[in-house]
């Protein structure tokens, strides 16, 4: 059961909703991220092969599989942190092999990434950390101040704005990572074990936030081995569950 006390303020999330209608129309039928017969190996050992997948706008995916099966690698391929050993990965219709480092950087502004061990710049306050994607993309921080405040309120971190990352709890860090991933209003949100370091209550709260984002039109992919989380989500969102097993990507069945 997903808790609904996340107190989502739908009417206030201008940053996430403002461009939604135009973008959703524009993206209709477009592939945000596409895998075509992708294989990836580490040090000679093959993690997976023959993986083909299309992430359509507004879709919600869970990626599951045992530890070491390649979930994190799969996500890294999705945002251009890795290049596949073979096959083609396209990010916003561009073949990742043909993309320059600047192209990859620009693509990452449209892909929000949340890691389990979310990293921040420890010498900056939470507010400055959340504004970092804006800063690096040349936005004037003042112009986005209202959006930033709104986003911090949405993830329940307004009172922690001036705290340094080491002063945050695990749950606060996860929500902060989510907020940072959202500040650029990305098309896709990739979350790698976002609930791995938090208690059940906080994991439900995070899931609620992600589901809400999906309702706003964002494409979500969550890598997790927490089947309870997947079952809880399926009551509220139409999600595809993918499983990496036997070096193949499979659509998980009704056992979930």
């Amino acid at each position: 059961m997903i808790e609904t006390n996340g107190k989502l303020r739908h009417n206030r999330l201008i940053i996430l909703r403002s461009d939604l209608s135009a973008k959703a129309v524009r993206q209709k039928g477009r592939k945000l991220i596409e895998f075509e017969r992708v294989a990836h190996s580490y040090s000679g050992g093959e993690l997976f092969n023959e993986v083909s997948l299309r992430l359509a706008p507004g879709s919600f995916h869970f990626l599951t599989g045992p530890s070491g099966s390649g979930k994190t690698t799969f996500l890294k391929l999705c945002y251009g942190a890795l290049v596949p050993s073979s096959g083609v990965v396209r990010i916003f219709d561009d073949d990742v092999r043909q993309m320059s480092r600047d192209d990859i950087a620009l693509a990452r502004r449209r892909v929000g990434v949340v890691h389990q061990d979310c990293q921040f710049l420890d010498h900056l306050t939470l507010r400055e950390n959340l504004a970092l994607p804006l800063t690096v993309s040349g936005h004037e921080a003042l112009d986005d101040d209202a959006n930033l405040k709104e986003l911090m309120g949405w993830v329940g971190l307004t009172s922690r704005a001036d705290a340094l990352p080491p002063e945050l709890s695990g749950g606060e860090r996860q929500r902060a990572a989510l907020a940072r991933a959202l500040i650029m209003s990305p098309d896709v949100i990739l979350a790698d074990e976002p609930t791995g370091n938090v208690d059940w209550e906080m994991s439900q709260r995070l899931l609620t936030l992600l589901i809400e984002l999906n309702r706003m039109g964002k494409t979500i992919m969550i890598a997790t081995h927490d089947l309870g989380l997947i079952r809880a989500a399926k009551n509220h969102v139409q999600a595809r569950v993918l499983r990496i097993s036997g070096r193949r990507l499979q659509l998980a069945g009704a056992d979930l």
Binding site: L121, T135, V136, A141
Partner: protein, 300 residues
């Protein structure tokens, strides 16, 4: 203008980008210190090179236009041979003037070696004739032949024997000074590269986070480049000032002191010192740029 604009923009910098990279203690001190020390050395290398250049030019110019005729003859014939030699010289094309040195002048020439009380009257000394050439110069071989025919005791010395090595030595010293400046610049670049690499390694997590949120390599590199460039500029400015002050403390140029007391800078050459911090900043900029882009290319 666009280059100037770029330099100004770079100097002003992006406060947010600067802030994203935390200050790193020891690389700051290393860069400032090495830039200051190297600038101090460059001041002296520059002073050495310029002084050697001045010396080479002076020797070359002064000695090239003068020659000496030495007359060794029995005392009874000395005056006649001197007069004959002067006559030959006055009628030689390319000789502007010729003058027999007085006894006092010859004493002054010998004084550094034998002291001022030298009894020249008691010694059998050759008579020296100073010859000043015109700009086109004279035919040395022709003059020697005429002197040999008309003044048996005369020997022409146009200083070529020792002028060449002296000028060559001074020119080599000048070249050595410039080579030193280039080597110091390269060493500064190497040290700043090491410091920048250390700073980049220490900030691996910062770089990873910035890449993750969409920062371009140029944006990340810029933060490091600006920091190291300004540190090198500040350190080199301090080192240059210190070096200039040390040059002022050197004894001023004098005839007695010869080359060593002429090591300081003269006239407009002082303005060349302004170029040292700028050169250090350019070296730091290029070294950090190279280090940053090499490091960033190895990251995903």
């Amino acid at each position: 203008m666009s280059v100037l604009r770029s330099v100004i923009d770079f100097a002003i910098g992006d406060a947010q980008a600067e802030k994203a990279v935390p200050p790193t203690g020891f690389t700051v001190r290393l860069t400032v210190f090495s830039a200051a020390a190297m600038a101090f050395l460059v001041v002296f290398a520059l002073a050495l090179s310029l002084a050697a250049g001045r010396l080479a030019d002076r020797w070359s110019d002064e000695l090239a236009r003068s020659a000496t005729v030495r007359i060794s003859a029995p005392a009874a014939q000395m005056a006649a041979q001197t007069e004959a030699a002067l006559n030959v010289l006055r009628t030689t094309e390319g000789v502007e003037s010729a003058r027999a040195l007085s006894l006092e002048e010859q004493r002054a020439l010998l004084a550094p070696w034998f002291g001022p009380e030298l009894p020249l009257d008691a010694l059998q000394l050759p008579q020296m004739i100073e010859v000043i050439e015109t700009a086109s110069g004279f035919d040395g071989d022709g003059l020697r032949l005429r002197l040999a025919g008309e003044v048996p005791g005369a020997v022409l010395d146009n200083h070529a024997r020792w002028r060449g090595p002296l000028v060559s030595a001074a020119s080599s010293l000048r070249l050595l000074g410039w080579v030193s400046i280039v080597l110091i610049a390269l060493a500064t670049g190497a040290m700043i590269t090491l410091a920048a690499n250390a700073a980049l390694a220490a900030n691996a997590q910062v770089i990873a986070v910035m890449r993750l949120v969409g920062a371009r390599d140029s944006y990340i590199a810029q933060a490091f480049m600006r920091r190291f460039t300004l540190r090198a500029l500040a350190g080199a400015a301090g080192g240059t000032l210190f070096g200039a002050f040390a040059l002022l403390l050197l004894p001023s140029a004098s005839e007695e002191g010869g080359f060593l007391t002429g090591l300081g800078l003269q006239g407009a050459h002082w303005f060349l010192l302004i170029l040292i911090p700028i050169l250090a900043a350019v070296v730091a900029f290029l070294a950090t740029r190279l280090a940053a882009h090499n490091t960033l290319r190895s990251l995903t």
